[in-house]
């Protein structure tokens, strides 16, 4: 049996999964007593019907691209990194420290340093579970979950005891200097003369996320390291036969994964809140898992899935505002997508495969 064309693999099948997820969610909406079609139209209009909506959608999507890529890179080495939440928390801390440490004259100088800070902190947080997995066989799923809790506790400690502005009641750092303020969608599109809503937080980090997607694609499919990561992910024994060091691959893949999660900090901390607050990640680390699953760990798939989840997030907020449907409905949709693309993937995939090969044979 030959393989499905990639457009079926990374577009059609996720789309069908999404439609089923939306259909099941529609039943929930019906049960709540609202009209599902009405709800859908509010969501879509709210998410992509205006530049305001787009601004939020892309802001969320930026977070999800980073965490989705992080999960994908680890997946390619068959490491299930579910520590994106903690790594992004630490990444945010790294970004905040960079922004606070120096009176930056201009964002174009601050941003590269912040990128390094976020990536380093995120990678460092992934390094310990990676080392334990590589050297001692401690399961990465268990250790990364534990590191999520530790990251959150560490942040609380730092914000309450170390980084808090003296005299302030809020557990947050001071506002970053003006020179560390990233250009928003409004600013950037203004440069080329396009009008864009001023309020949404989408910023230049979105472009960094797009670049990161390219970089990950290049890494995985065009470099020797990517070749070795994929080989290791498919078969550890064969990788060992070929002289590929398991320790090296686990460490590098997890460090890259942690760094990508950490990069999320430039969007949420530097781009949006402009200070470090307690919950800057807001579950994006976990949504990265859904995004990676849905995108089949392919950067293009991850990009599209992240936009979709951005739409769901922003649309869900609108839904909560205009109807009695709670915002948690998007959690339901998200869970259904994970269930369908992760656990029940073959339910859709196998019939589609059969159908496709039947059609191919009929045409042959």
């Amino acid at each position: 049996m030959t393989k499905l064309p990639s457009w079926i693999d990374i577009l059609l099948i996720p789309l069908i999964n999404l439609i089923i997820a939306l259909f099941l969610s529609a039943l929930v909406v019906l049960y709540i007593g609202e009209n599902p079609l009405n709800a859908l139209s509010i969501m879509i209009k709210g998410a992509i019907g205006s530049s305001y909506g787009w601004g939020y959608t892309l802001y969320y999507a930026t977070n999800f691209i980073f965490t989705g890529l992080a999960v994908s890179v680890a997946f390619h080495a068959r490491m299930f990194n579910i520590g994106g939440e903690g790594q992004a928390t630490l990444g945010g801390l790294g970004v905040a420290l960079v922004c606070l440490m120096f009176p930056w004259p201009h964002w174009s100088i601050a941003l590269p340093v912040a990128i390094i800070g976020g990536a380093l902190f995120g990678a460092a947080w992934a390094a310990i579970p990676a080392y334990l997995q590589a050297k001692r066989g401690s399961h990465i799923v268990i250790t990364t979950i534990m590191f999520n809790f530790m990251a959150s506790a560490l942040l609380v400690y730092l914000l309450v005891n170390v980084l808090k502005v003296p005299g302030s009641m809020a557990p947050e750092t001071g506002r970053f200097v003006e020179g560390a303020r990233l250009p928003t969608g409004h600013d950037m599109l203004g440069w080329v003369g396009i009008k864009f809503s001023k309020s949404p937080p989408v910023n230049i980090s979105f472009l960094i996320a797009v670049l990161s997607s390219f970089a990950v694609w290049f890494l995985i499919w065009k470099t020797k390291l990517g070749y070795e990561i994929r080989a290791f992910g498919h078969s550890e024994s064969a990788a060992k036969y070929a002289g590929i060091s398991p320790v090296k691959i686990i460490m590098i893949a997890m460090l890259i994964s942690g760094a990508l999660s950490g990069l999320m900090g430039i969007n949420s901390v530097m781009g949006e809140s402009e200070r470090l607050v307690l919950d800057s990640v807001q579950g994006a680390g976990f949504i990265g898992i859904a995004v990676a699953l849905m995108g089949r760990s392919h950067p293009l798939g991850v990009f599209l899935a992240a936009i979709l989840f951005g739409i769901l997030y922003q649309g869900g907020a609108e839904l909560a505002m205009w109807t009695k449907i709670p915002r948690e409905l998007i959690v339901v949709i998200q869970a259904l997508v994970i269930l369908l693309t992760g656990a029940l993937d073959n339910m859709i995939r196998i019939p589609i495969e059969r159908l496709y090969f039947k059609m191919v044979r009929a045409n042959a």
Partner: protein, 505 residues
């Protein structure tokens, strides 16, 4: 004349576009041993799976003892009196013989009665068919030959009159295999009918009364064994004349290339599998390591290939290998190529396309990646096309995943990759396992060619014929030790067979 024990008429079966069985008709008389030979993928196993109820035929009918029978599952096969002994035994390792025999055939919820009943029954069967087995022995403590007897007893306990054996000698020593054939003849003489599936022509000639040959899903001939020859069978299997014996020149020996001293290998469970062996291999010779599977050959090969830790010393042209921290990279840097026994687990990444597999292990070579770490995928694709056409890998589509090639073609992919590197030393395990007769000829010639170019070759194989026809020197691995170092021209199958069973020396 009595109705045939098994009669199949026009059985067809397809898996998607693949026609595994085409209009097969077969008739096996009661009280005979009937052999079925064919290359891998010829459809033997599919046919037997239909008979045993694992697959449903798309068309055709099955008659058992003259009665039309529908066999939807293995329960139905058992009640029709058909028993199957699989290539890989289906025994519970930590159960006793008795417990294994009644498994799935218990009467009632309480075990004690069934066990007592089975004990009596088993005693009777053992005596009747001379199948001596201790009913209280635990399976994992028994030899493979004995375990196979338990499988046969299991079938007989379920009143099987027709016994199907799928490649039964794969794991047996030659003397164990001969013993098995004696048992089968005994069963036949008591009126049982036996179907023996094998790809070894020698066994067909030794054990069967009649033989059917299958080729690409079709039954090409059914013959009386006494009236045919291995050459004729091979030709029927492949569809063209096959040279069963290859000719090779006298070896021209050079310097010692590989020197192994007191090598010890401990496996994952902490068991010492290779118990201090010493040998060397010279340029221009093929050293064969024979032995029944599981005597440490795999571990030896994996240690030499840098896959497994070991102790002792291994030197390659005077350079000592790091045995404490072995690495496949070090091996390749020393121009040693390793064709592993298990191509699917070690030799290939099954999810990679053929072209990605062609560079596997050699991704550091300057032709495949530059110093910045960028892969030269174009070069790898081109190499794949060249090597695949040279080794006649079919289908010749380098974009296809390794998974989608047949076992024989997967093996050719690995061989193409390793042999085409033109290594100084070639380590090769089971080069023709699962490979069609037609391709075996080609693979053997490639190995001989490398030897004639003055390369040192270590060949591990469980096929005695292969060892005898290919190697210049042979040692037998038994229980982790290397016994009997002989020139291949000075020994024979009988002597090696005894050594494989641990006798002699």
């Amino acid at each position: 004349m009595a109705a045939p024990a098994i009669k199949l008429t026009n059985i067809s079966k397809n898996f998607g576009p693949v026609q595994a069985n085409k209009n097969i008709s077969l008739s096996v008389n009661v009280g005979t041993i009937h052999g079925i030979v064919g290359e891998n993928g010829a459809g033997k196993s599919t046919l037997m799976s239909i008979l045993y109820g694992f697959y449903k035929a798309n068309s055709g009918e099955i008659f058992v003892n003259g009665n039309k029978t529908i066999i939807p599952d293995s329960q139905a096969a058992i009640s029709a009196g058909i028993g199957m002994v699989f290539q890989h035994f289906k025994l519970v390792e930590n159960f006793s013989v008795l417990e294994n025999v009644i498994l799935g055939a218990e009467d009632g919820p309480l075990l004690k009665q069934s066990l007592a009943k089975a004990r009596v029954q088993l005693g009777k069967l053992s005596k009747e068919y001379e199948l001596d087995v201790d009913p209280d022995a635990i399976i994992e403590n028994m030899s493979v030959g004995l375990q196979q007897r338990v499988e046969i007893l299991k079938a007989l306990y379920r009143n099987a009159n027709i016994l199907i054996l799928d490649e039964p000698t794969g794991v047996l020593t030659p003397s164990e295999a001969n013993h098995l054939f004696r048992i089968l003849k005994n069963l036949r003489d008591q009126g049982k009918t036996i179907i023996l599936i094998t790809h070894k022509l020698r066994e067909i000639m030794a054990a069967t009364d009649t033989v059917s040959v299958m080729r690409s899903g079709e039954m090409t001939a059914t013959l009386k064994t006494a009236k045919t020859s291995p050459e004729e069978l091979a030709e029927l299997m492949v569809g063209r004349k096959v040279l069963l014996n290859i000719s090779k020149k006298e070896p021209k020996l050079g310097d010692v290339a590989l020197e192994v001293k007191n090598l010890r290998v401990t496996d994952e469970k902490g068991v010492l599998r290779v118990k201090g062996i010493t040998f060397d291999v010279k340029e221009g010779e093929i050293l064969g390591i024979a032995g029944v599977a599981g005597n440490g050959q795999s571990e030896l090969l994996e240690a030499l290939g840098g896959f497994r830790k070991s102790q002792g010393s291994v030197s390659v042209y005077g350079h000592s290998l790091n045995l404490e921290n072995p690495s496949g990279q070090e091996i390749r840097d020393l121009s040693i190529a390793h064709v592993p026994e298990d191509r699917q687990r070690l030799g290939l990444i099954m999810e990679f396309s053929a072209w990605e597999n062609i560079g596997f292990g050699y991704q550091h070579e300057p032709e495949y990646s530059n110093p910045w770490g960028l892969m030269n995928n174009k070069k790898m694709r081109k190499d794949a096309d060249d090597k695949m056409s040279k080794f006649d890998v079919r289908p010749i589509d380098s974009k296809l995943k390794a998974r989608n090639f047949s076992g024989g073609n997967q093996q050719k992919l690995v061989l193409a990759r390793e042999i085409e590197r033109n290594p100084d030393i070639l380590l090769i395990g089971q080069p023709t396992r699962g490979v069609d007769i037609g391709a075996i000829e080609f693979i053997h010639n490639e190995i001989i060619k490398l030897r004639d170019e003055g390369k040192a070759i270590v060949l591990v194989s469980v096929e005695l014929d292969e060892i005898l026809s290919l190697t210049d020197r042979v040692s037998v691995m038994f229980d982790g030790n290397l016994i009997g170092n002989r020139l291949t021209s000075d020994t024979n199958a009988m002597e090696l067979g005894l050594l494989m069973g641990g006798e002699g020396e």
